[in-house]
């Protein structure tokens, strides 16, 4: 970990991630203005001293909206990744450990779900159930949980055949105990890599959904909805889409870099590829 963070790029990505989390947590303290307060005299003002990143078409402070948007965007991505882990990992571990019919059924279902185009499914699910934060989290969990199930099953299968597990069996330990004490801890590393990478994808998916009006509903700011609201004004205010777009990009970039770094740290064979 120490060695990883000494790499300047990884260090920066790590700092950016911590910074974004702090911004999301401390949004009410950090944001200079009320993100919902409209000031019609300030409509579409370019960046200046009182509006550091300008104001949107309702005269709302873009900086404050970005800061509050971090809460929703990062919050939804984090919840859906955590839920996917919480649902996918136990199912995958059990399927891999127990085998047989349970394995067949669970993995065919997971493969089936994995063979669906994620955003199409998410749009359809949220569209049918109605746009809301809860439904976005649900849809993204449906899309991402099978990946975690697949990966944890593969890891468990690989571990089950290894000598140390065989030895514990021979010592008379029971199945559930072996699974909980000896196998699950060893699946943490690969799952961490997948979780980091998935987080970046969830963030893009969440922004995409809220860009389409299927995320948190107005006037709540999200990065995706700020981007789509700004699209109608690119003639008058071409700077407006830049900030939410950059926010999404920087966050996703930081997570992709971290994901790569964690993978390299765990599997040195992959370094530099």
């Amino acid at each position: 970990m120490d060695r990883l963070l000494r790499n300047p790029i990884v260090g920066t990505a790590f700092t950016v991630t911590i910074g974004l989390c702090l911004i999301a947590l401390l949004a009410p303290i950090l944001s200079p203005k009320d993100p919902l307060k409209m000031d019609f005299k300030a409509q579409l003002t370019p960046p200046n001293w009182s509006y550091p990143l300008g104001a949107d078409s309702f005269g709302r402070d873009v900086l404050s909206r970005l800061i509050h948007g971090a809460r929703i965007s990062l919050g939804i991505s984090l919840s859906s990744v955590l839920l996917s882990v919480a649902i996918g990992v136990p199912l995958g571990c059990v399927a891999g450990f127990v085998g047989g019919l349970a394995d067949e059924v669970l993995m065919n279902a997971a493969d089936g779900l994995l063979s669906l185009p994620p955003l199409v499914i998410a749009v359809a699910l949220v569209g049918t159930m109605g746009p809301s934060v809860r439904n976005v989290v649900f849809a993204l969990t449906v899309v991402y949980a099978p990946r975690f199930a697949r990966l944890s099953r593969a890891t468990v299968l690989a571990l089950r055949g290894q000598d140390f597990v065989q030895a514990i069996w021979a010592l008379g330990a029971r199945g559930p105990r072996i699974l909980a004490r000896h196998i699950v801890p060893n699946t943490v590393a690969p799952l961490l890599v997948l979780a980091t990478v998935t987080f970046g994808q969830a963030l893009i998916a969440e922004s995409g959904l809220s860009f389409l009006g299927l995320g948190a509903q107005p006037p709540t700011p999200t990065w995706g909805s700020m981007l789509s609201e700004s699209q109608g004004f690119i003639q008058q205010a071409p700077w407006l889409p830049i900030f939410p777009g950059l926010a999404i990009m920087v966050a996703v970039l930081a997570f992709n870099i971290l994901g790569d770094a964690v993978r390299d740290a765990i599997d040195p064979k992959l370094r530099g590829r």
């Binding site: 199409v120 998410a122 159930m129």
Partner: protein, 319 residues
């Protein structure tokens, strides 16, 4: 050989089965009551009962599924609640736009991605490689809707070279016009795809370039560019094509957003209209067709690789 193709086809059929269940459950078992949402708050219980009966929602779930899947297999995807037209013909009318978008985005991303990947692999560890890697990572992290808006600002607002949105596009009928309208959407859609392709091309080429037959080729005194193109690229291509096939799903998802940004009348926009107007048969039909398209692309890709590379067919890939 036959076992390989049968196995792939079998997995495809299982995937299609899951697709059909998801599409089915979408309308029938979502939390909340789609009928009430569909009819609005003023609906009387009688109206809700009638609608339920009309859609067959008063039968047990399993017989509803069987009835529905029988209908689907006959090519009947139901009737749009808002327009009264068959869903299938509504979707088919939108396919040319989405298909042109997807095909051109794939072509652009292959050209850009493979090019960038070759440059990176040929200059491994040097400035060109690092630049190409940075560009690829940036591309993967940029959401296509942001790329789309940036392109729009650059070419339509600042440079005024291209219109913000153009006439309906049908490449087969009006190639020149549709290319003009499609250029920016295609670039936006293809950018992150290109980045993925570039990454895969690079790592796959780097692998192949360390093989012994490549050293032999160099030892024979062959020009490096020839070794790269003739010997290495050929063998590096299968993982690249796999990436293209797998990420076709993201391309399909991407068309929804890109069509919305550029106001293109494609399948994705029809889906969003369905969502806006709570036209559930349309949502269901499009989920089914788009997912089926994706599953078929992947089966075809697997078949193709089996034909190209006997190692895959015989289950020896990776040895």
């Amino acid at each position: 050989m036959a076992a390989y193709f049968l196995g792939r086809a079998g997995r495809g059929i299982i995937a299609l089965f899951v697709v059909s269940i998801v599409a089915f459950l979408l309308l029938h078992a979502t939390p909340g009551d789609p009928i009430i949402t569909m009819l609005g708050p003023d609906a009387t219980p009688q109206m809700a009962r009638d609608m339920r009966h009309r859609l067959g929602l008063d039968l047990p779930l399993s017989s509803q599924y069987l009835a529905w899947i029988r209908q689907v297999l006959r090519g009947d995807l139901g009737i749009s609640i808002r327009t009264g037209q068959p869903v299938l013909s509504l979707v088919i009318g939108r396919v040319p736009t989405t298909a042109s978008l997807a095909v051109f985005a794939t072509i652009i991303s292959l050209l850009l991605g493979v090019g960038l990947g070759i440059v990176a692999a040929a200059n491994r560890g040097r400035l060109w490689d690092q630049t190409a890697t940075v560009v690829a990572v940036l591309g993967i992290s940029l959401p296509n809707f942001f790329v789309g808006i940036l392109l729009m600002i650059l070419f339509s607002v600042l440079l005024r070279w291209l219109p913000i949105s153009g006439p309906p596009v049908d490449f087969l009928r009006a190639p020149a016009e549709s290319l003009r309208t499609l250029l920016l959407p295609t670039l936006a859609l293809g950018a992150s795809y290109a980045a993925l392709v570039a990454r895969m091309t690079r790592s796959s080429l780097v692998d192949v370039l360390s093989a012994e037959y490549i050293r032999t080729a160099y030892a024979k005194g062959m020009r490096p560019s020839r070794v790269l193109i003739r010997h290495a690229l050929r063998n590096a291509f299968i993982p690249v094509l796999t990436t293209v096939a797998i990420n076709f799903a993201y391309l399909l998802g991407g068309t929804i957003i890109i069509e919305q940004i550029f106001a293109l009348p494609g399948v994705g926009r029809l889906l969003l209209q369905g969502v806006e107007q709570r036209d559930y048969p349309i949502i269901q039909g499009i989920v089914l067709l788009m997912s089926a398209a994706f599953v078929c692309v992947n089966i075809l890709a697997d078949f193709l690789f089996g034909v190209i590379d006997p190692r895959i067919r015989l289950g020896k890939a990776g040895e």
